[in-house]
Amino acid sequence: MEVSFWGESFKVNLIVGCLGGFLIAVLGSMFGFGGGPFMVPLLTVGLGLPMYLVVGSSLLAIFFNTVMGTVRHFQFGHFDLILFCAMFPGAILAGFVGPKIAKGLSPLMVKRIAVVGLLILGVRLLL
């Protein structure tokens, strides 16, 4: 598929993109995460697309998954309104506070801390 973006045109391998997106969506909706950290490398490294094309478009693609996953979880009765109401304000608040803190931090350092945290959590889940 040909995609034109800001005067440039890119060839996109739809088979790889859709297959990868599908798998990420299945896992994401199954376990309740968005999948952005997997989607962006898939499109940049896997499909060789530039970052500036990927940031917005991958968010749009993930949004499809989030909407459908939400509706489906709701249909299967996996949604707890009270728990949601407790967590939703926290998430919104984080959206305002997060970027402010981010300005004073080195992204590389944050990533390294995240790696350690994710490893600990991952191993804890496996045991």
Binding site: G32, G69, A91, V97, L119
Partner: protein
């Protein structure tokens, strides 16, 4: 332009079909749920001999608790008989189990999903103190311990009554069914005996560990009097709790007594999860995790979900289904901001989005088919993979390349913003 409209049309059409089929299907369990609202299970003492029904008596030292606490019980039973107590909450919660293990008799895999909406949110079997060794042995078996075996070894089978009569729906799950979004074809109800056996398995799914179900706290004296403490821990549901004593040999049962657990704010009972929680904690946790998520560039779901499953005994499916919608708003606002400066390729986003729509349609049903330990295992692997991915993103080669990409990205974004501003200005002038 026409192509864009056609793509949109296709997207809308497919989503409409998926939603419709989902709604049609969802009508089924809703009906079952309405029917499921009925009183406590059979109150009769079961096989109690006539006249023996009065031979077991119990009394409680209090009739109400605040959030959690301990109720002391005392009673009398025929001398020399072990006494078992069954304690259960009248609050009901959903619980399911997917049977995909090879049936030893037929050699085939059944692929049957057992689902109940009537599992007591709190259930405990109190056994005599000398049964502790049996519970320890079960605990030593780890995840593979069996509730039915432990019950039998304790001699407590007669006491298993409250969950035995819960209504369990069975669905035959097929691959094709999963793809079109169905839970599967519903099978005929089971016999009472089979229902009881499945209920035991579901009790294990819901409560997990041996000591979460059993407590070796019944102290019996030679003259047949006995005492026990009923511990209702933090996180237990509110509402009415029932208690009943059963004598191990004769099967004689006492009458069913009740006490109330009053849950007060900020503790709130989550009816879908079957857990009582101090609501401050999920709020703080979600705030902390999502803030960190913004910093590291990944949504909060990756960290929030495992923490919710690990810290509180929340069902994995409820966690996944409740965390997912929390990012809807931030994603939508992100898309809106990008679209304002025309920084989204709609064609690319929708094309891959359609594949993701299909994935999101299938995933939530699969959550029901895995056990909690499988959920943790796969999530653990995903997190370690993510950690690897992020570690790679901190390597010097990647950072250098990313810097270049980032510079180009910023340049494009600046251009896009300026164009959008110019357009807006042109509009104002035209008006």
């Amino acid at each position: 332009m026409n192509k864009k409209i056609a793509l949109f049309g296709a997207a809308l059409g497919i989503s409409a079909w998926m939603l419709l089929s989902g709604v049609l299907f969802a009508a089924q369990p809703a009906g079952a749920q309405a029917e499921a609202v009925k009183g406590a299970p059979a109150q009769s003492g079961g096989q109690a001999a006539p006249g023996a029904a009065t031979s077991v008596r119990i009394s409680l030292d209090k009739t109400s608790l605040q959030n959690h606490g301990v109720v002391n019980l005392s009673g009398t039973a025929p001398a020399g008989e072990p006494v078992f107590l069954e304690v259960w909450s009248t609050r009901r919660v959903r619980c399911d189990l997917f049977d995909n293990k090879v049936d030893k008799k037929t050699g085939k895999i059944p692929y049957i999903l057992y689902m109940t909406e009537e599992m007591p949110a709190f259930y405990k079997v109190l056994v005599p103190g000398d049964r502790k060794a049996i519970l320890e042995a079960a605990k030593a078996q780890g995840k593979s311990w069996r509730f039915s075996d432990t019950l039998k070894k304790c001699g407590a089978l007669v006491a298993f009554q409250a969950p035995a009569a819960i209504r369990i729906n069975r669905y035959h799950v097929s691959l094709l069914g999963s793809v079109v979004g169905s839970r599967g074809t519903e099978l005929a109800p089971m016999s009472a005996k089979e229902n009881g056996a499945r209920a035991m398995k579901l009790v294990k799914v819901r409560f997990g560990k041996p000591y979460a179900i059993f407590a070796p706290v019944v102290v019996t004296k030679p003259d047949g009097t006995f005492t026990a403490t009923i511990a209702v821990p933090e996180g237990s549901p509110g509402g009415t709790f029932h208690v009943r004593a059963v004598a191990g040999k004769s099967g004689a049962a006492s009458q069913t007594l009740s006490f109330e657990n009053h849950v007060a704010f900020p503790y709130v009972y989550l009816s879908n999860a079957g857990t009582t929680m101090n609501l401050l904690w999920p709020f703080l946790l979600s705030f902390a995790v999502c803030t960190f998520g913004v910093l590291m560039g990944a949504g909060g779901g990756f960290i929030l979900n495992p923490l919710l499953v690990l810290i509180w005994p929340l069902p994995a499916a409820v966690v996944a289904g409740t965390v997912m919608p929390t990012v809807l708003f931030s994603q939508a606002s992100g898309i809106y901001n990008y679209s304002k400066i025309k920084f989204i390729s709609w064609k690319l986003g929708i094309a891959i989005g359609l594949a993701m729509l299909l994935g999101g349609f299938i995933g939530p049903q699969l959550t029901e088919l895995i056990t909690l330990s499988q959920f943790k295992f796969v999530f653990g692997i995903i997190l370690i993979f993510l950690a690897g991915l992020m570690a790679w993103q901190t390597t010097p080669g990647y950072v250098a390349r990313n810097k270049k990409e980032k510079a180009i990205l910023d340049q494009f974004q600046k251009k896009a913003r300026e164009t959008a501003a110019k357009r807006a200005q042109a509009k104002v002038q035209a008006a």
